[in-house]
Structures are given as C-alpha cells and as structure tokens.
Symmetry: C2
Subunit: 224 residues, 2 copies
C-alpha cells in the first residue's frame, strides 16, 4: 500500500497527488502540519519535508522523497497514461519545465507569496509587503513566459499532457486558492489551466479547504 | 553533433561531462565565462546559465538545459553503460541523491565556497569569512551523511555506479580543486572517491586548470 505524507497547500505535494491520480494508482493520504511535523513523519527520511511516500515493493518497504523524484516514480509505477513523451529530447523539455516550475517558479514566486499568506493565518503576524510585491512581479513574468511558450507550440511542453503541465498547474493552483492569479490578463494561460482543471485528477485539489482561508469563488469553478 | 557549453569549475557542468564520457558519447565542448557570457550563449535558452547542450536529432536541432535534465538525457542517448538502476525504487533513490547533491549540497556548500574563492581571483576582493565558515561546516555535515550512507549499504545509492555517484563526485571535485576537502577525516568517503576518480571519465576533470588557481598536489593523484 502506498502512503503519501503531504500538505494540501504545498505545490510539490499537489503535483505528486495529480501524478498518482492520472496514473489511476491508489494512494493513502496522510496530511502533515509543515509547521509542526510529528515524530513519525520526521523519522521517515533525512529530508523531513513533504512530499514523502512509503511503498511496499518486492524488496520490502521503500521510502521515496522529493517532488520531482516522486512524480517520475509515479509515472514509472504503471505503464498506463504515460506522463512523459516518447522521444528523449521531448522528455528533456518536459524535465526542463518541470524543474523550471518546481524550482525556479517555486523559489521566485511561491516561496515568497505562500508562506507570507499562510503563516499570517496559522502563526500570526502580517505579511511582508516587499516579499509579496516581489513574488507578484515574478508571477507576472512567469505568466508572460507561459503565454510565450503556449504561442510557439501546441501545449506547454508539447501536445501531450505531461509532468510539465502537472508541475505548472499544481503551483498555480495554490496561488489561485489565495486569489493571487490575474487570469484575465493572461487568456492563453487561463485557457490552458481550464483544460487541466477539468481533468478528473484535479477534483480532489479543488475540494481542498484550509481552515480560516476561503478560496475565491472561481477556485473550484471549471468555467471561471 | 553535440555541443556542450560549460564552465570547468561548475559542478553541474562537470556532472554532465562525466555522464557523456561514461556513455562513450562524443561532445564538442565550448567553455563559457560565467561572469561574462557572450551573446551567442545567452541566445540559446531562457535559462542563461551553463550547462547547455545543443544536439542534432531527427526532428532538427534541439537545446537541452539544466544539469539533472542533461544527465538523464545523456543516459537516455545510448543504451550502453546505463547510469540508472533497473528497479524503479532504486532509480528513485538515485534521483533523490542526485537532487540532494545537485540542489541541497550545492546550495549549502558550493554556493557559499566556490564563488567566494573563485571571484576573489577573477574579480577581486576578499572572500567573506562567514560564508566560508558556513559552507565548510555544511560540508562536514554532508561528508558525515555520505559516511553514514556508505556504512549502511554497498555504494552511495546502491552497488551500481549511477548518476548519484556522478553528481556527488562532480561537486566534491570542485571543492577538492580548491583544497577544501579534509579527506583524512572521512576515510569511507575518500575510498569511495578514489574509486570514482580512477574511472577514465574523470581524467579530463583532473586535467582542468584555472588560470591563477593551482590545485593541491593530490588533486590529480589517483592514490592521494
């Protein structure tokens, strides 16, 4: 049995949940509190941050950690619904964009906006306006870059639905929950996100609710 | 023809060179100046940092960027000498450690030590003693972690030679060039590194020389 330790508003955790859902692989989900992880969770790995997965294999129990590693692990756990294209240079472009969103976007946008807004509610204090301003400016740059990518080819990383779509949409979905995405200004990105959001794998994410933070009305709306 | 744009003292670039050498795949190498990259290099990709590879495929010229993406691309470019194990949970452990060294070690150790020492020579000024102290303390922690890994199993990520060995040794080799590694204190890591260093793929790295910075005598010595 696979068990995923995750936090609902962690973009990487969302990406991993999407991957397993796309692959139609069952997952027991345990929500952890990133500000106060319990001992059981901390004992799982030297990397005590979610997402962490435990799985039973022929060789016994294994612990898999790290967002991108887990996404590829999910993809390799079943041949059904591949999340990577067949050609190696296409896979390279998918991996480049998966890293782009999982690291660069995460560092430049989500690492500035998400903790500021979440910690205000769960820990107290007020958000740092400079961090928010910087994160929001970077978000606009990334949305422009996505618009450009979507203008030069069919799809974000190519015509197939891949890990790149998953990583990008997982990151944007957290910001969208907090009302941070100006969809109207980036119609091509909105159109792309609408298609992703309509996939059955996305439903559990749209049903996530944080105590004390209500998402904007359009968050769960497929026709926003 | 594959062309790699790289910088000899960049750990990620070294990892990519090792991968292609292990796979016996030819590579035209162009050294770029990271402090003053030329226009041709900057025009290759939105990510204007090395390593960047251009390759000719059936679909035309492609540009591949990013250390880990390029390592997997190299591995997938030929079936000879696989750098990933056959089981998916073993691959996950290799990817975890590749990310561990490529990102965490890089951030906690090399990002503090390498620029401080290199920029002092190539740009001027004096190294920030706090950055060096912090980087060196983190290096000791990572060497202890490697010692622990090597004590619980055969090899760093398992018995096979993999991308994890390549990423870890590429990072350590840059520090070793600058005389930053206390091999005597970590005999298990030294033994592991000696084996890696003896591989033919490592020879070009041991022959690298930076103007104005001479490596310690043991740097190129296989029996250090």
């Amino acid at each position: 049995m696979r068990t995923l330790y995750h936090y609902p508003m962690h973009p990487g955790c969302r990406a991993v949940r999407l991957c397993f859902a796309e692959k139609k692989l069952k997952l027991r989900e345990i929500v952890i509190d990133p500000w106060n992880p319990d001992e059981k969770f901390q004992s799982l790995s030297a990397e005590d941050v979610p997402p962490i997965l435990t799985d039973l294999t022929k060789s016994g129990s294994v612990t898999i950690v790290g967002t991108q590693t887990l996404c590829e692990y999910a993809d390799e756990s079943s041949g059904r619904n591949p999340l990577m294209p067949g050609e190696r240079h296409d896979r390279a472009e998918v991996r480049r964009l998966t890293t782009w969103f999982g690291q660069r976007f995460d560092h430049e946008v989500n690492a500035l906006i998400l903790p500021e807004k979440l910690e205000t509610v769960f820990i107290g204090g007020t958000p740092d306006p400079d961090a928010l301003r910087e994160g929001r400016a970077a978000l606009r740059d990334h949305m422009s870059y996505m618009t450009w990518l979507l203008s030069i080819r069919d799809g974000l990383a190519g015509p197939a639905f891949t890990l790149a779509d998953i990583m990008a949409s997982a990151h944007l979905s957290c910001l969208d929950y907090l009302g941070e995405v100006s969809w109207r200004e980036f119609p091509a990105v909105k159109e792309w996100y609408q298609t992703i959001k309509s996939r059955p794998s996305f439903r559990p994410l749209l049903a996530d609710r944080l105590p004390g933070i209500r998402p904007p009305q359009h968050y769960g709306d497929l026709d926003f």
